[in-house]
């Protein structure tokens, strides 16, 4: 198979970028998208030219490194996969393919197709954890967790932090990313004690990092390689509302025998 690639090239964060056209020849249909780019790069290196910079690591859809907008869609045309899981048999022979980096103010371009996603780490550092010391944890079966609840928490926890949700959103909102983490921890008894502060701290970090707000258009869900549901954004909104109620001093859950300290 043969393809024409229009690839975004940009030397550095402060440089102007532009599309450059490359030919990929003799590609077999069982080649992965990234292997196809590898072979284009091998050709460039052999000519002494700088290869196209792009991110990848595990190549099995779990590390969250790969991050390409392919023909306008983060991670390409198929649903529920990362770029590294996309195979060339998905494209017709002779196709013209446009490849761009994630585009968002909070993700500055480092080089070509590589962007800086540390903003997501900083959101996590603001509150995406349970503050528990190593050692002294109670037996894992002390707190029973129903199968359904554990499965739903797992659905949320399977986020790989790739940032496709941000790239797909016209507001560059990480609501799905934050919602997934807030929901994962809120759904488990271990995460409940810090839920009020967590949601507030994480959303404050979102604003600090220059991300936009959720417009409820669900484009994030459509491109999420782990098919994380937008109902976790609903949980995020509910948690945020609840945090406001708790902070106002009103009882958030009147049936709860234990008042929560904030």
């Amino acid at each position: 198979m043969k393809f024409t690639l229009n690839i975004w090239r940009q030397k550095g964060p402060d440089e102007h970028g532009r599309f450059v056209s490359y030919e990929a020849r003799d590609v077999s249909s069982g080649t992965s998208f990234l292997e196809m780019l590898d072979s284009v790069n091998q050709g460039l290196i052999a000519k002494g030219e700088e290869p196209v910079a792009f991110e990848q690591d595990c190549r099995e859809g779990i590390c969250g490194s790969c991050s390409l907008v392919i023909n306008g869609i983060p991670h390409g045309p198929d649903r529920g996969i990362t770029t590294c899981q996309l195979y060339m048999r998905r494209f017709p022979d002779g196709a013209v393919i446009t490849i761009e980096p994630w585009r968002a103010r909070a993700f500055p371009i480092i080089k070509d197709l590589v962007v800086d996603r540390r903003a997501l780490d900083r959101i996590m550092q603001a509150g995406g954890y349970i503050s528990v010391h190593t050692g002294g944890a109670v037996d894992g079966n002390v707190l029973l967790i129903s199968k359904d609840q554990a499965e739903t928490a797992m659905d949320a926890a399977s986020c790989i932090g790739c940032g496709a949700c941000v790239a797909a959103c016209k507001n560059a909102s990480p609501a799905l990313f934050v919602g997934a983490k807030v929901s994962h921890l809120e759904l488990l008894p271990q995460g409940k004690p810090e839920r009020t502060n967590r949601v507030k701290a994480m959303l404050e970090a979102v604003d600090r990092e220059g991300f936009g707000s959720c417009g409820n258009q669900n484009e994030c869900e459509a491109v999420c390689p782990k098919r994380i549901s937008v109902r976790f954004i609903a949980i995020l909104n509910r948690e945020y509302l609840r945090a406001g109620v708790v902070e106002s001093g009103l009882p958030a859950e009147p049936e709860s025998p234990h008042a929560e300290s904030t």
Partner: protein, 637 residues
């Protein structure tokens, strides 16, 4: 002269670790604030160690080459994590997990280390639950278990097929907390390229900022390496493409002993290689062997569709050879059995490199919904890569390099032969002997990071006499100089071949001569070919761009240069070990029916290699004493 003192506490096995913890000196809380520890790598071992050291009050400088600590390759572990909880009441215990691991490692690991690993295993599960890891649960709300290869109890805890991801995200969230508290400073996209030693002690590292290309010196009171394994030396492996040997190899050159490098695990169930373009092999979790049956046609070169081959003309070779464990034999045996039937021209798929992993029986019994719930993501992955639907036709699988049991030599306190240099997780050699059992790597990484290193490093820091060392120290400058000159040398060759082409070539060489089976002739020839290839690399490699910028090709070429040296060490070790044990199968040492022959009289030792600049590496032996278990022929028949 290098000495290997494993520092194993004397006395009964069950209380060794307790007694060691009590006899260790502690660092007072006030002094911890004044101590800096460098942790390199943020996988399960690195992230759990860095976060725990931060909680204890040390100042931690933590490095990873990925853009975020959450992307370390532990993330890709699929199947599960072992723990001697005995929740199933099926006869499990610390002693049994200990014995299974020692036996699984073919009696080439230290009893004391393995027992300690089994002891802390239960704590790991509790810790992870407390961190919010969403382990699979039963309907009653209790933690669920599954079985794994090489054992007869159900002790594996799991999060669907993404256990490594969830455990790593747990450790990463603990790390995030410590970053927020200011105890850990994270340096992502920063690669360690050399070690600073002062008065023979590890005191810092030289690292390259992968975005700007700037080199920097970081000094500390101790250095912890958690930089993973080296299976990528084979080029095609199940590892992430960034996984590399550079950190461990370069500290070897600074005096840390490298132990048992030839113990490399070839995982039986990966998707078979497709073509020359291929950059990695994709693992299909071992947990599939719980329900799938491995078979090949009885006839050679049988090209019929699998569905057209009647049961009587199928060879369920693992069930035939190992009736007691069947499809759940340990990885080394399964891989060699696959290779054996493929060598008999009974392999299936392109090039005859593959065997069937068939789920039709279990689907007929339990329905495809049950299988979808258990392994849905793996079946999906298989379909995407091969274009085939494993619910209707059997999968094809073939072995692939996967895990390194070998690594830097460490004593019972996880310290290498360089004082102050600690090595944890896959990067060390200690616990898995000659073969690792499934779901044990996650256990070991977290045991080292959460529960062992934080104690043992304290003793070192409390007792070592450490003078202040800064960036301007002579040793810091000379390590800096080593890195600078290597980078400029790489950039100055300006040859015609890409680093990847050399990597592929050395990987192929190792796969042929030092892969699933090895012999003297092949190893000797590899030891002649590797130096020649290395010489060609330094004459003809092409690294475009500059060192003072983001340059992925430069990063990669540096790693390939290290593989080209490390491959030789691997072959030296394989050549010296004139026995077959675990993953190391020497063709000269096998029984008439092809089972491995171990030689305890000559090789019941850890082979620890010392670097010499001008000659071949020098071998030191740490004898393995078995006081509590009797090494037996490892039989799964």
């Amino acid at each position: 002269m290098m000495t290997l003192d494993p520092k194993i506490p004397p006395g009964p096995l069950e209380t060794k670790w307790d007694r060691r913890r009590f006899s260790e000196k502690l660092v007072s809380p006030n002094n911890k604030r004044k101590i800096t520890v460098i942790v390199v790598g943020t996988g399960l071992a690195g992230a759990s160690a860095a976060s725990t050291l931060g909680q204890l009050g040390y100042q931690v400088e933590c490095f990873c080459f990925q853009d975020s600590p959450r992307r370390a390759h532990s993330i890709a572990a699929q199947g599960g994590i072992n723990a001697a909880k005995n929740y199933q009441d099926d006869g499990d215990s610390v002693a049994r997990l200990f014995y299974d691991t020692i036996k699984g490692g073919d009696f080439r690991s230290r009893e004391a280390n393995v027992y300690r690993l089994a002891q802390v295993s239960a704590q790991i599960i509790d810790q992870c639950v407390a961190l919010g890891v969403p382990f699979a649960r039963e309907y009653g709300g209790q933690l669920a278990n599954r079985s794994f290869g090489g054992v007869q109890v159900s002790r594996t805890f799991y999060c669907r097929g993404q256990t490594g991801q969830q455990l790593l995200l747990g450790a990463y969230s603990a790390l995030c907390w410590q970053v927020e508290r200011g105890q850990v400073t994270m340096h992502p996209r920063t690669e360690m390229l050399d070690l600073v030693t002062v008065d023979g002690k590890a005191r810092g590292i030289v690292a390259r900022d992968l975005v700007t290309g700037r080199l920097s010196i970081h000094t500390a009171h101790a250095v912890v390496l958690a930089t993973g394994g080296y299976s990528n030396v084979y080029y095609l492996s199940t590892n992430a493409s960034g996984s590399n040997v550079t950190a461990t190899y370069r500290v070897w050159k600074q005096g840390a002993a490298f132990a048992n490098p030839c113990f490399t695990q070839i995982h039986p169930t990966a998707i078979p290689p497709g073509g020359a373009h291929q950059a990695k092999l994709t693992l299909m979790s071992e947990s599939l062997r719980n329900d799938g049956r491995l078979w090949v046609p009885t006839m050679r070169a049988d090209h019929r569709c699998p569905g057209d081959i009647p049961d009587g003309e199928r060879d369920y070779f693992l069930e035939r050879r190992y009736p007691r464990f069947g499809n759940l034999v340990p990885r080394d045996l399964a891989s060699r059995a696959v290779k054996a039937v493929c060598d008999e021209s009974r392999g299936v798929g392109p090039g005859g490199q593959g065997v069937y992993l068939d789920f039709s029986d279990v689907i007929a019994q339990q329905g495809s919904d049950v299988i979808r719930e258990r392994y849905g993501n793996l079946f999906d992955m298989y379909q995407r890569i091969t274009g085939e639907d494993a619910y209707h036709a059997p999968m094809r699988i073939y072995p692939a390099p996967h895990y390194a049991m070998g690594g830097l030599w460490v004593d019972y306190n996880l310290m290498s032969t360089i004082p102050g240099l600690f090595v944890i997780g896959e990067a060390n050699f200690a616990d898995h002997g000659a073969n690792r059992l499934g779901a044990s790597s996650l256990m070991q990484g977290l045991a080292d990071g959460y529960f062992i290193l934080p104690y043992t490093i304290g003793h070192y820091l409390a007792t070592a006499k450490l003078t202040p060392v800064g960036e301007d120290h002579q040793e810091s400058r000379s390590a800096f100089q080593r890195v600078t000159s290597r980078i400029s040398r790489l950039l100055s060759v300006k040859g015609r071949r890409t680093a990847a082409s050399f990597h592929r070539e050395v990987g192929q060489l190792l796969w042929n001569h030092c892969g699933m089976s090895r012999n003297e002739e092949g190893l000797t020839s590899a030891l002649t070919s590797i130096p020649a290839l290395r010489e060609e690399f330094w004459r003809d490699v092409m690294v475009p761009g500059s060192g003072a910028a983001f340059n992925q090709e430069l990063e990669y070429a540096g790693r390939v240069a290290d593989y080209l040296e490390f491959a030789e060490l691997l072959c030296h070790d394989a050549l010296h070990r004139e026995e077959s044990c675990g993953a190391h199968f020497r063709e000269e040492y096998q029984t008439d029916d092809g089972e491995p022959q171990r030689d305890d009289s000559r090789f019941s030792h850890v082979a620890a290699w010392e670097y010499r600049e001008d000659t071949s590496p020098v071998l030191h032996k740490e004898p393995l004493a078995f006081e509590f278990v009797q090494p037996t022929t490892r039989s799964y028949q």
